[in-house]
Amino acid sequence: MSTALAPPPATIGGPPVPRRPGPLRRVGALRHTSPGRLQLLLAVLLTLGVFTGLTAGLTGRSAAAGTGDLGRRAQPLLAEAETIYSALADADTTAAQAFLAGGLEPPPLTRRYEDDLARATAALTSAARRTPEGSTSADVVQGLAAGVARYAGLVATARATNRQGLPVGASYLSAASTLNRQTLLPQAQSLFRIAQREVGDGYRDAASAAWIALLALLTVALLAALVAGQIHLSRATKRTFNLPLLAATALTLLFAAGAGGVLAGQNVHLDRAGEQGSAPAAALAEARILALRERGDEALTLAARGGGGAYETDFQQTSRDLRAALDRSFPAPSAADSHRLYVEQHGQVRRLDDGGDYDAAVARAIGPQTTRPFEAMTAALDAALAERKAVFTDEIGAAGRGLGALTVLGPLAALVVCGLAVAGIRARLEEYR
């Protein structure tokens, strides 16, 4: 292709090979003979074929790995971080409500607490598997695991002392709650943020934009070389078509179409997984975190018996945030109504407590009037969250489809193209022997 650009070497006049030529010069000299030109063409085709095949394999692998990492690690880690947070927040609220009830814990609350703790521990174990050693997220998971053990110990002591009728049980509970709210929940929240960032990175990695660009470039170059080669051959040999090279061109086109289809499909599904899966799931998870925080604030305000002004202030702030989140075209439409009802009931609880009727306030806070709308809200959020997670799983599954084939068939197709190029050009070379 660059024949015209290279200045003719001064010392060499024709076909005879110079005495001590460097390899580059030897290659340069090839273009002056017909078989030399054919050899050059073959070399170019083989080089491009090999690189295209290699890049196709690597692109397929990178995209498959990125998509797999997103689906099997980053997104599940996000879900686990959310589970850890919500389980811990719920454990805290449940413990506070059991405390409010007085006497022995009501069995449903005990079960709920145990269930929360089991969920948090299970999520921590699998989150530990998904965090690379030495990373910030691994440190956070480790800190959480240690903290949860300590928390469980404090609550167990609170229960044991409560059984003996000792008021220090309440202090143990408050120590547990402080640990939960001031250490564990912020840690869980930071894990959530890290996982969110990793999901964002995961989408970028899965899209493998750089690899795809390289692959496209090489494929176009290969096609161009094939076409140019055939034009050259048909001029030089008076044969219009070189069948093996024609087949190689067709195969390359097929490969380009196939790879393009697979990668475009992957990107479409990735976008959908992000827009209809990850993003709304994250919003729902955050809303659930806010909802649990509200409920915890309510119980702790009552448990503090008038000393809990700070919790009520936090309730109001959290409530405002949650309302703002729910009012935006939110993926769980019924949650906003339930939340309104719940906040109304909370207002009643506060009115009763501020009016001096503490017992009635407690009864209302842990009674069905308040519990029902709250649980309706969390149930709506849970259902929407499950739905979004399913969408994500489906889309990620679809995005991964065909990438394995690209990894294997891409290099294979390139190999065949190379073989055809050799076959097509060797036949012409033979004619010069």
Partner: protein, 318 residues
Amino acid sequence: MTRTRPVLAAAAAAVLLLAGGCSGDSSPPPTPARPSASAPPAGPGAAADTSCNPRASLRPSGSLPAPGRMPAGSYMATIQQRGRLVLGTSQDTLLFSSRNPFTGEIEGFDVDMGRQIAEAIFGDPDRIQIKVIGYDKRVSSAVDGSVDLVADTMTANCARWKDVTFSSIYYEAGQKVLVSTDSTVRSIEDLGGKRVCSAAGSTSYDNIGKVRSKPIPVALPAFGDCLVAFQQNEVDAISTDDTILAGMAAQDPYAKVVGPRFTEEPYAMAMSPAHPEFTRFVNAVLERNRANGTWKATYERWLGDFGPAPQPPKAQYK
């Protein structure tokens, strides 16, 4: 009260008692300039504020009005109209004001003091709303009217008299030390370099910083938290009023209270100075209950395990 001087002398000799007569708590006035608590010379009430007799309250005037018939225009009438007396106290001081884990009710000697006032106003001791306030909110809660009355192991002292009005003394306490049963410690002096816990905002805490052998004071929000820290081996000892310590020792068979009282803590109820007639009324109720055996019965109910009831503290008036 006659005990005061010998003890003061003893304490002074030991260079322990810088806060003179003020202890158990050092909740600051509403707009406090809290010095960092570990700096002993800057402690509130440093160098014994003896500008007043903290035990002397307002003299009751005349006989008690009948329950439900509070004189018009008085603060008692306001409370009667509201339908309940708002008492500020804590919920983790066993025997004085703590939450009964079985019932969820807050009860104790301090709560009964409040209930007796409610009974005098309404004829019904249950017409009471209990607000749990932090140790460091006792003065401000009484002043800003968020509670009618504070009964929360609160020591009457001159620094606080500047912001609130105290009733006559209803209990005499003093600071001691709680350690584990196998400890050889015999007084606060033996705890040099050890971690000693007290509630933030209490003069007990300030007093620990003034001990010559330099124990390390540790402040936690409430005394219940101190007991948790003690049981988790996070602190070596707890030091505050003997009454509060007795309540803790009753919850932990591996704890004992040791040493002499190294301060005097006369407990009184705190009220806003805006209603002197209410203080006179409260003092009249206390006066009556000292005389008719109610005080003794209350003592025996909550503190009977520590021996027979002593004579109730004699009221002093200005």
